[in-house]
């Protein structure tokens, strides 16, 4: 049985499956790409042929139009595709709508590239599925034992308590437009908030797409045309870069909140000037990373990006071989980059 090292290689363009002749989440335009999910650091424009779930393809089309790939092939969960000798499956990753792990088998050896994933419940996408494998390729965004995401319902309850305490103030929550925003809406709805939720212009297209793809979000209104009085005591969702910038001046004495796994660390919240940190992440936390690795039972784990030092150390203690891939270009989506996100620039 060939070791996956011999057929799944790290190249400057990203992970390359040699016998299948395709890349997974490549950072530069390639001939054949398999895309795990629609976040900009994984789904980049300009590939010739793209294979992904139908939802991911729809998201790519919405975000990049013609750049979403000259030919697009949709693959549903449960289908199997043979590319040369390689059997490919897409399995839910629980990260955002359409997100998938790429399961590849070649000559009896199986590798799983998980993309980004989480194990917490998310009403907007299918839950992560455990696939036993020989090599598990994982991210390590929150791979430090200080990162343990609380129950998101608890974080949303904080937001609603703050609204009760400051009923005249707009509560503006910074959240990434793809995935986090829609998950947050479902969490807020689940907590009993049935009033309209207002959106920054950048959040609207993907919310519409989610609804078209069958994720109900309740009444949404643009925040940019609303008058200030309407925004008193309202919840407004906006990109993280907009919550403390000029755009936010239209809001009524805003309380600035930010929904991100990084909000677990105070200094991160403080440097962003966040008043109400909400620890809500679409990535696996430390416990879930380790649990997932134990469940897939792979003797070897490759770490794409993030805190590979801590994760590889912890795996060694359990007799699992860890290998840091140092893939470039990943970790630029909201959760991973929120603390460094450039200010300004968010158009209304």
């Amino acid at each position: 049985m060939p070791h996956p090292e011999t057929w799944l290689r790290v190249t400057p363009d990203g992970l390359f499956c040699e016998p299948g002749g395709f890349f997974i989440d490549p950072v530069r335009p390639v001939a054949r790409a398999v895309i795990t999910h629609g976040h900009a650091d994984h789904a980049r424009p300009g590939h010739r042929a793209v294979l992904a779930t139908p939802e991911t393809l729809a998201i790519m089309r919405a975000r990049m139009g013609e750049g979403a790939g000259a030919t697009q092939q949709a693959m549903r969960h449960g289908e199997v595709l043979r590319q040369s000798d390689v059997a490919i499956r897409l399995v839910p990753a629980g990260h955002v709508l359409g997100s998938a792990q790429v399961v590849m088998e070649w000559r009896g050896s199986r590798a799983v590239v998980s993309g980004d994933y989480k194990r917490q419940r998310d009403a907007t996408c299918l839950p992560f599925e455990v696939v036993p494998c020989d090599v598990f390729v994982t991210e390590a965004t929150f791979a430090l034992p200080v990162f343990r995401h609380p129950d998101p319902a608890h974080e949303v309850a904080k937001l609603l308590r703050s609204l009760a305490l400051f009923p005249e103030r707009t509560h503006v929550v910074g959240c990434y437009a793809l995935g986090k925003c829609q998950r947050l809406i479902t969490l807020i709805r689940a907590a009993g908030w049935d009033r309209p939720i207002h959106l920054h212009g950048a959040q609207q297209p993907l919310c519409r797409l989610y609804e078209e793809l069958g994720v109900p979000l309740g009444e949404l209104r643009p925040a940019t045309v609303a008058n200030k009085a309407e925004l008193k005591g309202a919840i407004v969702l906006a990109p993280p870069s907009a919550i403390a910038d000029r755009w936010a001046r239209r809001l009524a004495e805003p309380v600035t909140a930010l929904a991100s796994g990084w909000m677990r660390v105070r200094q991160r919240a403080r440097t962003r000037g966040v008043e109400l940190p909400m620890v809500i992440s679409d990535h696996a936390d430390w416990d879930d990373l380790n649990r997932t690795i134990d469940e897939v039972g792979a003797p070897e784990v490759w770490v794409t990006h993030g805190r590979d030092d801590a994760l590889v150390h912890a795996l060694a203690g359990r007799g699992i071989r860890g290998r840091a891939l140092h893939l470039v270009g990943l970790g630029e989506d909201e959760d991973e980059a929120v603390a460094e996100a450039p200010e300004g620039g968010a158009a209304a």
Binding site: L144, P145, V146, F147, R148, P150, K158, S162, L165, F166, A244, D245, R246, A248, R249, E253, V255, T256, R264, V265, R266, Q267, A269, R270, T271, G273, V274, E275, L276, P277, R307, D309, A310, H313, A314, G317, G344
Partner: protein
């Protein structure tokens, strides 16, 4: 549920910049929490509760026994703060059914538990809390909550919540110990106002209004008395059988920072005065006094190099007799007699300035150039000593500010309502470079003085003229001149320019002036008044 509730309050306070929002959070705490926890929490916030039994080392040992050393080190390195690292990394044990402890339970147990049993006690609490609760607990027992709630702010919140005047609360505050049950009962209308008896309590200070031109025109010189307004910190000295205290203007107990004054308070009286660094009879600039502020303990070197004294303004109580209803002239006479009789060490009388007319007084004011003098105080001869700022009785008449034209160098965003505005400005002046040419050297930072329109204009200008960014700071093109006014310029070893400004603020935007014509550092140095330089 009280440590978790306290933890949520702490978290909100830590991240909330606005005073009004902080007050709202505190009012909510008073209204919703049971006794004694609300009082315990209040005392913890204002740092009136201090624990010594549990040292940070104990916490470190507890966590080290439960975590992998490499992962702990990586985590500590990432998070920075040890208490926060411990709170976040603490392994949560499944099946811990113990309820989280009440705040009062924690405080009580810390006092009675033998030292050897503390680690197990604290570990048990940490097991029963979530990460926010753990952080609150660790900060509480090792000290250093630092949430930006002063005692004064807490008392204002109590006043707003209860509808009682803040002055009344302040008068009894220091006579009642945490958890302040008699105060809460009184504020809720269930008991009489507590009587502090002999306990040294803070009496709210009488404050002055700034004197405007129209007030000056209406001023009857015969009805007022004049004194220098010294640039130190206003203090109240309280001494008697119940103890000795030095209170700041806001009613904080700052006795610990000034042991030499406390030692000299061998009397039974309440006095109002100005705390100053005084060397050989001369008052040093404020920068010298600053070295002594916000210290819990002072070393012998500090005591020797920065000796403090109190210049006395007023006598509020003498041997238990309340003099506050008496007119100023009468209190002043009693003060002079009292000083003559007691001759307390490290204290002297604030001199009265004789004047016959407003014009003469104005000359006196303009003639005062010492950095340690802010201007004049005018007190109506018949004014009783009243809490707060009562219009028409006392006036402060500051010297005209000094002014320079400086070049904007860096800008930073403000906080709270100003968080989307570049509202903090670092400005500089030109100085010659070795080998010819000139460079700008920063001389100060200002974040007030402008109108809302000017702030909006400056914000736009800064965004359009940014040359680089360092985190929240933008460096701008060195082309905008700002007229900066300030109360005094003092030598400072801590500033690159060698000079520090007192109360700098933006007076005007000088779009009419090219940056090359802004002031030189030597123009500013000409304003520095004689006086010993601050060390540092």
């Amino acid at each position: 549920m009280s440590v978790p509730a306290f933890a949520e309050l702490l978290e909100r306070l830590v991240f909330t910049p606005g005073r009004n929002a902080k007050l709202a959070l505190l009012r909510d705490w008073f209204a919703t929490q049971p006794d004694p926890d609300r009082g315990v929490g209040l005392a913890a916030l204002t740092e009136e509760l201090v624990f010594t039994a549990a040292k940070p080392m104990l916490i470190r040992d507890l966590v080290a026994a439960r975590t992998d050393p490499v992962l702990l080190a990586l985590s500590h390195d990432y998070v920075g703060d040890l208490a926060e690292t411990v709170a976040l990394i603490w392994p949560e044990r499944a099946g811990v059914n113990a309820p989280p402890p009440a705040l009062s339970e924690v405080v009580e147990a810390l006092e009675v538990t033998p030292k050897a049993e503390l680690p197990a006690l604290i570990a048990g609490w940490l097991d029963a809390l979530d990460s926010g609760g753990r952080l609150a607990l660790i900060k509480l027992i090792t000290g250093g909550l630092r949430v930006g709630v002063s005692g004064r702010l807490a008392r204002v919140a109590l006043a707003e919540w209860s509808g009682k005047p803040v002055e009344e609360i302040e008068e009894i505050w220091h006579g009642v110990a945490p958890p302040y049950l008699p105060i809460f009962r009184w504020l809720e209308g269930e008991a009489e106002k507590p009587d502090p008896r002999d306990a040294p309590v803070f009496r709210p200070l009488m404050l002055a209004h700034p004197l405007e031109d129209r007030d000056l025109a209406a001023l009857d010189p015969t009805a007022y008395r004049a004194e220098w307004k010294w640039d130190g910190i206003r203090v109240q000295l309280t001494a008697g059988p119940g103890g000795r205290r030095i209170w700041s203007r806001g009613g904080e107990d700052i006795s610990g920072g000034f042991p030499e004054i406390l030692e000299a308070m061998d009397f039974h009286a309440v006095l109002d005065g100005e705390l100053l660094v005084i060397r050989d009879g001369a008052v040093a600039p404020f920068a010298d006094l600053q070295q002594r502020l916000n210290r819990k303990l002072v070393g012998p070197k500090m005591l020797r190099d920065h000796p403090v004294g109190v210049r006395l303004y007023d006598l509020l109580f003498e041997e238990g007799e309340d003099l506050r209803p008496l007119p100023f002239d009468e209190r002043r006479r009693r003060l002079e007699d009292w000083v003559a009789r007691h001759a307390p060490a490290r204290m002297d009388l604030s001199a009265m300035i004789a004047f016959a007319s407003v014009a003469q007084l104005s000359e006196v004011r303009d003639g005062a150039r010492a950095a340690s003098i802010e201007g004049l105080m005018l007190k109506r001869a018949d004014s009783p000593y009243l809490a707060g700022r009562v219009k028409g009785l006392w006036w402060k008449w500051k010297r005209d500010p000094l002014s320079i034209d400086a070049v904007l160098m860096y800008a930073q965003r403000g906080h709270g309502k100003r968080s989307s505005f570049y509202s903090d400005y670092t400005f500089g002046l030109w100085r010659p470079l070795e080998g010819g040419g000139e460079e700008l050297v920063p001389v100060g930072k200002a974040y007030s003085g402008y109108t809302d329109e000017e702030l909006g204009w400056l914000d736009r200008w800064i965004r359009n003229h940014t040359v680089s960014r360092f985190g929240p700071v933008r460096e701008v093109e060195k082309s905008l001149v700002l007229e900066v006014i300030f109360d005094a310029a003092q030598l400072s070893g801590r500033h690159k320019s060698g000079v520090a400004l007192r109360f700098p603020r933006i007076a005007r935007i000088r779009t009419d002036k090219p940056a090359s014509e802004a002031d030189r550092l030597e123009n500013l140095m000409a304003y520095v008044e004689a006086g010993p330089a601050a060390e540092g």
